[in-house]
Symmetry: C2
Subunit: 188 residues, 2 copies
DNA sequence: CATACATCGCAGCGATCACTGCGTTAGCGA
DNA sequence: TCGCTAACGCAGTGATCGCTGCGATGTATG
């Protein structure tokens, strides 16, 4: 059989068997997290994903590692670093995007569960690329010739309130509020 | 003295049998949380506490409710609202105390686990009285005749960074850093 | 086309979990 | 002091979990 237009189904590429199983398991985890009633155990996840629990046990080992994997793939590369031309514009856009992301109950449940089970490592997976994205924004401002606030200060003023309000409270993350965070960081 | 026949709480005083069991179970939960290896399940907690699992099942029902109870009693009334005479002094003292509290690995593990399992309700238990204490500090300043920052603003500037850094990062909560949080909130 | 390898499904195993009647004990009120 | 009631200990049950050989299936390579 000529392999011309025939689909190249390598297992490690999107569409392969292993990738399909991984995607199904990830989606099952996210669904069970939103349900809140589900116990989020390996057999339950496997059944929901349509695969056998054996597969999940062998590929991930424990619920903690599975959650960390889901969180990592969830919080990696889905927020593009904005470039609006000014630091204020970049931060406002960044804060707005992050707020919209954290508002999703699905995402929020994933963050909480990952922190609770994964501990230190899970928390790191939840921060994901946020810190690096913030750093990139500040470095870009520095390249423009202006001295931006430090990464620590920006984290305290923007990132921390967003995560705190989302994870610990019920208050909505409104655009006005995210705007005010940047306004307090950058007076003028 | 109310003459209610059914509302007689025989065992609610400190030192009673019920109180001893409660204290033992709470301590077992905290110990197992620090171990991190423990599975934090009802039978394990009960064995560690020296009581029977039946008792734990009947009094708390689930690990989530048990954790919420531990968190509530842990985060209630152990930080006295300071009164240094000035808003700045009050906030600095408050931030320092809270940072010292959140630095404890035991407390941190409790916060993470409670959030992860208890969800919205667990998160509320972890905030505990912090928000009200902050509100009390601000109200006292208002009684002094000065207009303090809003509760929302103070939460974003002080409370949120403290919780975020403790829960999501490995960075230490140094006194200098907590001091800088208040300094940024209250310029002059 | 044939071989080699990785991944998955299947059945089943000890262990533990969540939960439930029933008898016993501890502590308050009279 | 004595009775009453809530709380606890005990033993046991069905269900589920975590995990492990073994065979089947699909995927890449020569």
């Amino acid at each position: 059989m000529p392999a011309t237009s025939s689909a190249r189904r390598t297992d490690s590429r999107p569409g392969g068997r292993s990738a399909r199983v991984r995607a199904a398991v990830h989606q099952a985890v996210r669904e069970l997290l939103t349900d809140e009633a589900g116990e989020l155990t390996i057999p339950v996840v496997a059944t929901r994903a349509g695969v056998h629990a054996t597969t999940v046990y062998r590929r991930w080992g424990s619920v903690g590692e599975l959650l960390a994997d889901v969180a990592t793939s969830r919080f990696s590369g889905d927020i593009v670093v904005p470039d609006t031309g000014s630091l204020r514009g970049d931060l406002e856009r960044y804060a707005y995007d992050l707020a919209k992301d954290l508002c999703d109950p699905d995402t929020l449940a994933l963050v909480r569960a990952t922190i609770g089970i994964g501990g230190e490592q899970g928390a790191a997976a939840c921060r994901g690329e946020r810190q690096r994205q913030l750093e990139a924004i500040l470095e870009r401002e520095q390249a423009r010739g202006t001295q931006p606030p430090s990464l620590e200060r920006t984290t305290d003023a923007v990132l921390a309130p967003l995560y705190y309000r989302a994870v610990f409270t019920n208050d909505p993350l409104t655009p006005d509020w995210t705007h005010s965070l940047v306004a307090h960081l950058l007076p003028d």
